[in-house]
């Protein structure tokens, strides 16, 4: 045990924790609560049966799925993730693809707006100061608060979803880009000045690489928020997507499906974050 690396030890601990969680879960969901009928008079039991709350029957079936039930639900979904049986019956892969598509489009549009604008704001202290109050007011608004306005003006639920992703991704990217550009070290700019580097080349070869780590941090935060928001937005908007799937399965009272979808959301978010972590590492420099 002593010569194992920290990483290996952490891995072993994670597996043990996972096993423990499964065991607790299994135990908690299997245990039948021994509700005795002795505490009720026969009249009360009769009354309860009439109301649909049979004290004898109710305890037998817990609404929460056991890990085994979860496993079979997961297997069912994963064995055929892309089926499409009409509006309310699509495979989890398909739903995930809808959500990722919306996030992708909204996020890309946000990056296209935020990064060039952030550059301009960061380059000009005047614009930075002038726009600061607007950004500070708009930034803390929950993206879902825009939903009514989006639905009213755009009138299309899919595009409204994309708009909400756009509006929530734009601020961290904008602020980080502006900050990164504004705090490029003076020395590097002076080097570019003494070398008479033209503005466009200076922007791409000096300021962009210097600010890239900060910009990427903003992009990573934005992606995290976008993935949080899409689930809620799709619950509101409905139709397709992983968020809608969760809501639909809740209406069906199918908790295994809900839990499975939650896991999928978590894993996808982790994967997205890992991609941005890699990108961030690629542009980070050591001074």
């Amino acid at each position: 045990m002593k010569n194992l690396s920290l990483r290996a030890k952490a891995g072993i601990l994670s597996v043990l924790l996972f096993a423990l969680i499964l065991a607790v879960w299994q135990f908690a969901t299997l245990q039948k609560s021994s509700v005795t009928t002795a505490q009720y008079t026969p009249e009360q039991i009769e009354y309860m049966k009439l109301m649909g709350k049979d004290p004898g029957k109710q305890s037998e079936k817990s609404g929460f799925p056991t890990p085994v039930q979860m496993g079979s639900a997961a297997f069912k979904h994963l064995s055929d993730p892309f089926f499409d049986n009409g509006p309310n019956d699509k495979g989890i892969g398909l739903q995930l693809a809808y959500s990722l598509g919306r996030v992708g489009i909204g996020y890309l549009l946000a990056a296209l707006v935020a990064i060039p604008f952030g550059f301009l704001i960061g380059m000009s202290p005047l614009i930075y100061k002038a726009l600061d109050p607007f950004i500070q007011v708009l930034k803390p608004i929950s993206p879902l608060a825009w939903m009514p306005i989006a639905l009213y003006t755009i009138k299309d639920s899919t595009i409204s979803g994309i708009f909400v992703i756009f509006i929530c991704s734009v601020w961290p990217m904008l602020i980080n880009t502006a900050f990164g550009v504004a705090s490029v070290r003076r020395d590097w700019l002076n080097v570019a000045r003494t070398l008479e580097v033209p503005p466009l080349r200076r922007a791409f070869e000096v300021i962009l690489p210097a600010a890239a780590p900060t910009i990427l941090t903003g992009m990573r935060i934005s992606m995290g928020i976008a993935w949080l928001v899409i689930v809620a937005a799709e619950m509101l908007v409905g139709g397709t997507g992983i968020g809608y799937f969760v809501w639909n399965e809740w209406n069906n009272l199918s908790l295994p499906n809900v839990i499975f979808a939650i896991l999928v959301i978590g894993l996808t978010g982790m994967a997205l974050d890992a991609i941005f972590g890699r990108l961030q590492k690629a542009v980070t420099y050591v001074e």
């Binding site: 002076n190 008479e196 690489p209 420099y285 001074e287």
Partner: protein
Amino acid sequence: MLNKAIPEDAFLRVENLGKTYPGSEEAVFENVNFGIERGQFVCIIGHSGCGKTTILNALAGLETASAGHVIMAGREVVGPSLERGVVFQGHALMPWLSVRKNIAFAVRSKWPDWSKAQVDAHVEKYVAMVGLSHAIDKKPSALSGGMKQRVGIARAFAIEPKMLLLDEPFGALDALTRGTIQDELLRICRETQQTVFMITHDVDEAILLADRILLMSNGPRARVAEIVVNTLPASRTRSGMHHDPQFYRIRNHLVDFLVQRAAKLSHGQAPSSPHFVYPGLESAETDSPPHLVKQKESA
């Protein structure tokens, strides 16, 4: 106005330069006058806060002075230019680029039409000049402080500027490293006949490297109070120069100035047109530029 501190054929002329920062009543420095001849190595020494870096930035065109002019090769300096290479105090290498690419960035700025092979060859030549060929593809973070500063020097030389400006380039280095790089700089400057203006705090460094040493009085209203002519032979070396009795005469003069006289000459009490000083020699003070003195001596 004929200014006796500025030789008529000076390559660089600094005339009545002054800087007052907004909101302050007194100038940091004012009436700064000196000239630099082609191929000369000039050091400027003074206490912190007398505006040395501001003067250097004004020479580079990075900062504008509030009074006076800088004229290089007959043209007024109005902004940064590829004709003046700058070595910054903190080396200012771009950490995301390798040594090769850092220098290539400068080379491509000077000669945008060059092919990749031409740029590469030029870069390699200057990296070899500072003895870093083995580290050419390393990132600055993998280099020691001294190596980084050598890359900074190579970058400044690589654009073959008419004038080189060094802002206390060795300030952050340990004494041993500093010595080696001083030797290297001295050798390169002698080989290339580079005109250099350098800020330093190190008296010995100034005596080793410089042909002329500008002594600045303290601020506010600092001035170039004296121009010390280095009378040690041009072949001086770091290891041998302290055996020359003349070395101590110059050194004592510089240290005396910094310790005793610099503070007394603040608030504009230094002459606006500095004298040439030959410490330890009979013509200890003269109003004439050194080449006139030489003529007198030979006459």
